[in-house]
Point group: D2
Chain length 137, copies 4
């Protein structure tokens, strides 16, 4: 499955007193990146949530920090779907400094699909091809 | 109307590369303080939102920054209701360093009451005495 | 003095359980906008901080919330320098929904210049013309 | 090595439009918990950073999300040092709902010691016994 590149610029708010980006913010960037990837795959995450009542709930997140991102750096995030089933999906992320190409961090998030009552559901058929899955018939 | 004291400790996440607390986080602290004040007044904000469908929507926030708070400082926030009507409420906040007593910041937030459809509503009668208002009859 | 337009997209992280953007995040957006405005004025804020040791410390921030921004909305922020002296500067911000043009919020931040010891300083001469001030000679 | 219990209350700012705590905020809570654990072990993290110039840089973070925390929940975090050497340290975290005892999330963070130039260093001898390590002689 193809990957998607997201670009963002480090905000002052995202730094901490160590002078680098605070570690939890990489997870925020992963969310920005997977929302963009979803658009590339053919749907808007907000529509899936609002119109179909399907939530993409995180069950695991992991990040390896290799080199610190700093204020005003442009960061490029390469995101891809590394696993998918009708029950859930896994994304992987590679974060690099746009200027130097240096790898900053890499991460993985695993998700399950939930309905509005926070119960596990199968991904509606219309979304399956977007994740490389066969639609149910 | 009486005031309430809230204590919190500055998180590393709340600092920025200037080595002090990032300015938007004082508004987060004001929220923590007014949620505690509501408990002192006799109700839990989450119940008002969940059970009565009344939201306390911010229409204005203001903060004056006097001295920077730093990581691991204990901050004391004195919060009070500075104005109230059946349509909305205003809170004021004085933030001090617990150890030195030094004034860190002072702020004000103004709110209106909304229903779940984000339309302005009057505060339900049962909450009015808590804000020093006469209950409707 | 000319204004600058900044565009950003609302992150999921920026929403709260009311289903709209949490109020403190508008101050983060103001920071993003003024960093971009500085570039338009001719300097990078991070260079001013790193190379000249001049910090732009916030002494007051104010925001009026008019209509809630929501997840995945594109927001346009028009930023301008509304006052400037060698001691400090004031920025104003108008935030609109890019799609509808609807005004979301408007804000003001006031800043003073500090050195690395957190003492007030005059803005170095080389930056003054950028804020519409006469350079010292 | 003994563990430490940290208590905190979920802030409105920490929720997202799913009505639960946004996933990156669990990493913020882990930081709050390990700062408290350090105090229990016998030192203040801010002193180690300020006085000895030793930074505790995160190289990996992982979180498994089991049940969503909600606004105003009290969360109890049990933190312990799960591995330590003179080069780095690993913490593990169990997060539970104080009221129900339900497990919310569990996490791990791995850190290395850096000096002010962001270079790896050995933990100064005076801190080693606090992490269950022999002091250098």
């Amino acid at each position: 499955m193809s990957s998607h590149l997201t670009r963002l610029r480090v905000r002052y708010a995202e730094t901490d007193q160590m002078g680098v980006v605070y570690y939890a913010n990489y997870l925020v960037w992963m969310e920005v990146a997977r929302v963009e990837l979803c658009k590339t795959l053919g749907f808007r995450y907000k529509d899936m949530e609002r119109e179909d009542g399907v939530l993409l709930a995180v069950i695991q997140a992991e990040c390896r920090y290799r080199y610190p991102a700093r204020f005003d750096d442009e960061v490029v995030i390469e995101t891809s779907v590394s696993a998918a089933s009708s029950r859930g999906v896994e994304f992987t992320y590679e974060m690099r400094c746009a200027e130097t190409g240096r790898r900053l961090a890499s991460g993985t998030t695993r998700h399950i699909f939930l309905n509005g009552e926070m119960e596990p559901v199968r991904l509606p058929a219309k979304y399956r091809p977007m994740f490389g899955l066969k639609g149910s018939t």
